[in-house]
Amino acid sequence: MSIQQLLPLLLLFPLIGAFINGTAGKKLPKIVAGSLATLMTFVSFLIALTIFLNLDQPVRSLLFTMIDIDSLHLDAALYADNLSMWMTLIITGVGSLIHLFSMGYMSHDKGYYKFFTYLNLFIFSMLILVLGSNYFMLFFGWEGVGICSYLLIGFHYDDEQKGLLNGLAARKAFIMNRIGDLGLLIGLFLMLLSFGTLEYEQVSRMVLVDKILPNGNMLFAITICLFIGATGKSAQIPLFTWLPDAMAGPTPVSALIHAATMVTAGIFLVVRSNYLFHYAPFTREIILYIGLATSIVAAFIALRQNDIKKVLAYSTVSQLGLIFVALGLEAYTTAIFHVTTHAFFKALLFLGSGSVIHAMSGEQDIRKMGGLKDKIRITHITFLIGTLAISGFPLFSGFYSKDEILGYAFGHSLTIYILLVISVTMTAIYMFRLYFVVFHGTFRDSKDVEHHVHESPLSMTLPLMVLAVLSVIGGVLNLPGIFLHGSGTHFLNNLLNKNVAGLDQIHNVHPDHTTTLILMGVAVAICLTTLFISSIVYKKKGSVPSEDAQLSAWETFSNKKMYWDELYDILFVKPIEWFSKVFYTIVDSFILSGIIEGVVRTVAFSGDIVRKWQTGKVNSYILWMVFGIIGFITYYLIKL
């Protein structure tokens, strides 16, 4: 089979899985429903692997023409190059592992089949997003994953206490995403205006080969609109507050959608459009600073969160900010590299937290945990690996990818480098705090809960182990030049530069070897120092995060999420509600209705006058007819 034929199959399997589970899942035994969904994703992964290994030049596969009006031609088509296939591998690969994990994690849930339906549907939408051959298809997937995210965040809508809150979190995510979507949509319109097409191949050919470029303002507008879309999906300032709330969804969802895949869609979008951003330096500047600010703000908030998932959520926002810094510096392969390693270790951490929560009978507050390291060994070891990877512990995957970003930042400006180092340091601090408070010290919840603590089944621990291995060795995907006798591997770099439009034209200056070594030294020092101090504070002294009331000013500021939600409430929600009230009670019910009522009264009581006024002019049966209707109706009204 040719790649052209294989591509639609890739999408078909998750769709079939969703369809079967959606229609007949209720009657299927749980194990069948879960295995089916997992298998479908895994088959997709295998197909993706086949395509990936055989792909040389980009391949486009037309499904059908969706809209064909004279000026507008939009195809439903798929497009495979190394970028979209690499993303596909992450989505289906990590996706399969998370499906497997969910089989155990969700085993007690009555909506089991529904969960897997949504999960498969999500994979399908995400694949459309990355594999679509034009921005229109991307938008389809873009909104599709938004819907799945909505459904999965609000999955436990029937919960006794939190049902409505879960719904609210889902709504918030959907609405905030839609704000970004509007930006993206307008970007699409602008592209249609400038290029007359939304096909990646055509746009890139125009820009890169024919050198047909819209003027600077237009390019700025296009790229900034795309970036607004990206801030929504990838949770950047100002549209990031939905992501922590999205933790209301089941933990595998947080791992898959809100850490490893969906939230990287914005990054994919920018990398895909790199040749547009290349000519829009001002937009890149904005991306750089927004990413930087997001990274620091989120890391700061994560310092004093006590919900295990919230810490990880803010950590995700922070890491995404870091990646956007890379995008702002045009270090696209580095960005994808960190997306990849982040997918490994963040999925691992989330699934690990799921395993912890599972063991804790649903408890998510780290102040009630403690001393879990001997009770759930596999979870402990894998979680530790995840923590080390994200904190940039030497030779773990996060170490390499983060270091590349720091290297480019250093090359760009010292200030940005220092600010990033602060963010990275905070990352290490909150991650080690999380790790020690959860796994060391003494158990702090009731005896009842302690009695129940148990290691998760193999279906849950197996994905943890696989992801742990990947988190350790993930760095080899793009080893820097100083390793392997100076040649380095740069596997991912070469891969993406090979056939992804635009990327081979960008030449980033790699820091020289000495600088790289010094920067690595700094990073290692930070990580080790933080590890050392944290182990003293939390392990030796056995400190426990204090109660909310005892927090100092900056701690409260961090704990209360810097009052972002409250700010938005004052700025947007409250005014709109006020307008809603005024529009309804004053404008609509009083002014507009009042006028009409006055007119209606006049007319109703002066029908005679109206008629006399008319008859002179027009000889009309029609008027009689309509007056007949009035009489007819008045008759009924009187009779009532």
Binding site: F64, T65, M66, I67, D68, I69, S71, L72, F140, E143, G144, G146, I147, G154, Y157, D158, D159, E160, G163, L164, N166, G167, L168, A170, R171, I175, R178, I179, L182, L185, I186, F189, L193, I576, F579, S580, K581, F583, Y584, D588, L592, S593, I596, E597, V600, V603, A604, K617, V618, S620, Y621, I622, M625, V626, I629, I630, I633, Y636, L637, L640
Partner: protein
Amino acid sequence: MELLILPLALSLVSLIIPKSTRRFAALLGALASIVIAVVHLTSFHAGAFVELFSSNHQTFFRMTYQMGYDGLGLAMILLTNVIVFVILLANFENVNIASNKMFNSMVFLMQFALLGVFTSFDLILFYIFWELSLIPVFLIAFWFGEKDRKRTLLIFFIYTFIGSLAMLFSIFYIGTLTTGNYDYQTLVDIEMNTKTALVVCMGFFFAFAVKIPLFPFHTWQPETYTKSPMAGTMLLSGLMLKMALFGILRWMLPLTPEAYHCYKYVIIVLGLIGVIYAAVIAMKQNDLKKIFAYASISHVGLIAAGLMILSIDAFTGAVVQMVNHAFVAVGLFLAADIIDRRLGRRDIQTLGGIAVKAPKFAFWFAVICFAAVSVPLTSGFIGEFLLIKELFTDNAWIGVLIGTTLILACVYTFRAYQLSMYGKESSFNFNDLTITEIITFAIISIIVVVFGIYPQLLIDLVKPSLETILMTIKESSI
């Protein structure tokens, strides 16, 4: 001709069919009218004009009988017949209404009037059908509506009636400009100066603006939708307002292109205000029907604004969105009715926990909600994409502002959905959907999704006639 005669005949036959079989007969009749429309469709060639009836013999007031359809007309015919069927199906379980002979009779009379509106190519004829359509829907609302409907319905009637009267003046005024007939081609060919055209178009505009309804002529609508029985609301929102949008496209724009540049932005801005204003109001309403009523104002504001952009993309988008809105509106009101009929209340603050009791209902209601917020893969997305794109191309700021409908719609739709469906289990009884209700929802969803994935089906049908209309307008507006 059987296209029109069948509903009229059905309207009469409904009166004599025995009560026990009435609702089945009505469904069968509606199905037959769909079949006839489909037969017409199969023999239709894109771009053709099919004459249904033609007589140049002048009757009273120079009226002739010119009836027929082009692609656009046929699309509207199909829409009418399918929607009528869906409405009958939606009310099938409500035996008090569905087995009432007057109800069935009036629904078919409405269908007859609507088909007349969509196929008239003589302005006087158009007007008669236009006026005729008001009677059945008014009577349905009047006979089967809620208790305190009297005042509301009076306002509704007189308001739309004043609108129609304004249109009638315009019609007579046009009559003084020509000695010929009132048939379409004669009227389109009339050359007017801007001032005359403006006077003529104002009458049409007022009639259409009230019926759509366009801000600030909308105040009759939420009250009327709330007080009418569900069938009435569905007829009003699903079909009657399409008459007005159709009227703009078929009559107002081609007749008065000379004044186009005068009213273009008036209507766009009114549409824009309506989109935002109604959506903002809908956000804090608690009556399900009222929320959906304001939602409807918000959605049609976009269509009306889009119709003012003279491009094939905008016109196509408007037609797609008209079709989409008809189905989605019927679906939303059906959902509200299901809750209302089962629980006797529809204030979302007093609802909650229904999803647990009725998972099937929760599913289908959610599907309709997603269609209502125009997610991709539903026809609403295609319609809004084209409309907003064209509005944006015309004026970036208007495009961005009107694009906020994407966000606002989510806010009120999902608030309504979640407050009524989510939450914990309570003690009330809520029977899940019956098979007819599922079929109704399924039909709506399938149509919306099919046009969402493959809109070209609809586009191919209507594009040639929209191009003709566009040509007509552009020739004289420049």
